[in-house]
Subunit: 425 residues, 2 copies
């Protein structure tokens, strides 16, 4: 195969005709596949099925004797706090165990800052403008929260080590209305990169102009490895402590992609001072979260090591799917020199960059042929990818065979959109 | 026994000495009992234990085939929506099934109105002042939400039929900053009264000055009867429809006191227009609530009739406790003419009114002797009972024997505080 850029006009036209034919053949297969979100596959959910009956015949008391069936316990039963503290490398006093969704915790955290400020600061709703930094490409649901509150989002480019820290440091230290930054530090959504030690250290050493600036450290994929020798990012809390910056970070994680999405357990980890402040507000809105489900999780996983061991089983199911994506791209796209991608070592996504101006067309071609991808632009604030280039590939849900088929189609769509672009058709 | 008001000074002094002696005897028993909250007793929680294993071997699919183990479904699985719709006498389209706590829904509803307004209205945070009407005595956690947001609370007296509707109508129709009213329409917390048909109709026919005024209809005790011929309040949605006022009401309920507090399911019922607006915001903060727990509840209760039948078992446990409270008050306090109370036909509380200025003293005497009651004043906004008279009795948690003992002590404390007051000691 020749690179597209090296083809003559005639060769391009022939390539286009051939690709169109392949596309039409695929359309006639009437595929129907939704790859728009990072959903675990049924086979992954099956791994957790024994949890459903794990409490049969149990007394439903926490290790401190508290009856988990009744009211009370705002911040989680002790054994759940301990398990998540160990996963995140903090103390149980840094942990608040919430309900089923870390996204809900992030929303809640911003919503409370909006109405009440943080640790005595002015409520964000009292500002004419509040801004968040958004490393791009990033997670659309983070951006949706900002958009919902009218928080202005500032794109921050990312490279293989993390966000552009020169830009982050400058904006954070100069602008009092910059109140937060969204980070997925390990196996980023969607790029799959993990922040380098230097990036983590620079985050921990930020000197924000705003006392109520916080890093929203969404460690959604902290133990979601795809290799047996996983990359590990630095513990940001340790670095913050060294820097005397203990209140700087809110870290989030959940078991949504470990046990059951929607029926898992989510936590925030933060300084004791932040945690106490959060609990004061949280105690107004609830008496407590689902302790029986917390107990269910602790009984099933045992401890942090049990959680990690369970993730190896997920890896066995997921890794071959990621390989299919990379194989197909390497085989069908790499020789053409029309796109780039990152082979993620963990997480749920592969970030794909098409030729400028091609992402929307590719996603639309796929959809027409029955494969729904994450919308082009979704990985950017306001849904606006300035280059119309980035596409998030979510390979987890389909079976390997379905995925192979979907990737064949995806590659045809990439080729078609690219050649269309090149010949200006 | 003579009424205290008919006793001579000498008789009062003798009565005081005798009561003090009884009190000291009680203190030496070293009781330790927490009656501060409306917590179900372990025997009630035992009723729901089979729910823990009800999903063993089940496929965990909703009736429409949706895999409840995975992401999705913002407003609840169809069979859960149907079950709660039938309990509340509305259509499934009026129901949003949330997580584990109706208090959290109420907080969330106010928080969203604070940041975003309601159906396009000005966000409440943009007002200099926002007010809520608070029928008193009422539920302290309602009041705490208002206090947290700095919402000014206006006390509205209640009688045996419900809140003073003349006052409600006047304030709601005249003041654009009056944005809501807290109601526990059936078996009110703490008075135990249920709103008369006329009161419900007058609520449904309110003509608020503020388009974003809402009735917060906390129907927490809608099926929590203590007699086999329960009082039933009018369906406010039917009345609102007749009045062309469909957007006026947010109704809340949960299974916290039906299945497990903290591990139950909570819902809001409201007009389709309100529900659609709520879902638009809710979809920003979460992908969905715990559908497996919704399934667990539907499998266990079957339907609305199953829920109601289950409540008969609760009644068998609770009714004798309420009887103990009333018996002890009738026997030890009624003849003295120093207090009044209401025999609730349902719900979780008995509201007790001591002589003016005695409630704090009674609660404090009880506490000193080992029985913790709900704090005096808690049933009023800002914790301020202008008469220092109301005490909420929560008889559900102790056993009948413990409760008998606690009530004996309570009666002694009432007598002591009252006689102290009368002789000015």
């Amino acid at each position: 195969m020749k690179k597209l850029s090296e083809m003559t006009s005639e060769e391009l036209l022939a390539f286009k005709n051939e690709t169109e034919k392949q596309y039409l053949d695929f359309k006639s297969l009437n595929l129907s596949l939704d790859m728009s979100r990072g959903k675990p596959a049924p086979a992954q959910l099956d791994l957790t099925m024994p949890m459903i009956s794990i409490l049969d015949g149990e007394k439903l008391s926490a290790e401190n004797g508290f009856d988990c069936r009744n009211y009370g316990v705002l911040d989680g039963i002790p054994e759940a706090k301990k398990m998540f503290a160990d996963v995140l490398g903090v103390e149980p006093e840094n942990i608040i165990v919430y309900g089923n969704s870390s996204l809900a915790i992030m929303y809640d955290t911003i919503s409370r800052a909006w109405s009440h400020g943080i640790l005595g600061s002015k409520p964000w709703c009292k500002y004419d403008k509040v801004k968040f930094l958004c490393p791009v490409p990033g997670y659309d649901r983070h951006f949706s929260i900002c958009e919902y509150f009218g928080i202005e989002m500032i794109n921050v480019p990312t490279n293989e080590y993390g966000p552009d820290m020169d830009m982050v440091e400058k904006l954070v230290s100069e602008d009092e209305t910059v109140k937060g930054i969204w980070c997925v530090p390990q196996y980023s959504n969607p790029t799959g990169i993990s922040y380098s030690d230097e990036v983590v250290k620079r985050f921990a050493n930020l000197k924000p102009k705003a006392a109520d600036f916080r890093i929203f450290w969404d460690n959604a994929y902290c133990i979601h490895h795809l290799t047996s020798s996983p990359e590990c990012i630095l513990n940001i809390f340790d670095e913050c402590k060294k820097a005397g910056n203990e209140n700087l970070v809110y870290e989030f994680m959940s078991t949504s992609k470990i046990s059951f999405p929607g029926s898992g357990v989510a936590v925030i980890a933060t300084s004791v001072e932040n945690a106490e402040y959060i609990k004061k507000g949280l105690g107004i809105s609830t008496i407590g979260f689902d302790k029986i489900n917390q107990l269910r999780h602790v009984k099933f996983f045992g401890n942090a090591d049990g959680l990690k061991a369970h993730m190896n089983k997920h890896m066995e199911i997921l890794a071959p799917k990621f390989n299919v994506v990379i194989e197909e791209l390497e085989k069908n796209i790499a020789p053409l020199g029309i796109a780039s991608w990152h082979k993620a070592e963990g997480g749920y996504f592969i970030s794909f960059d098409a030729m400028k101006g091609c992402a929307k067309r590719i996603v639309s071609l796929c959809k027409e042929a029955g494969v729904v991808l994450t919308g082009a632009g979704a990985t950017y604030p306001y849904g606006k990818d300035p280059d119309d280039s980035n596409i998030r590939i979510a390979p987890s849900y389909p079976t390997v065979d379905e995925l192979r088929k979907a990737m064949e189609l995806f590659c045809i769509c990439i080729r078609l959109a690219s050649v269309e672009k090149m010949i200006g058709a």
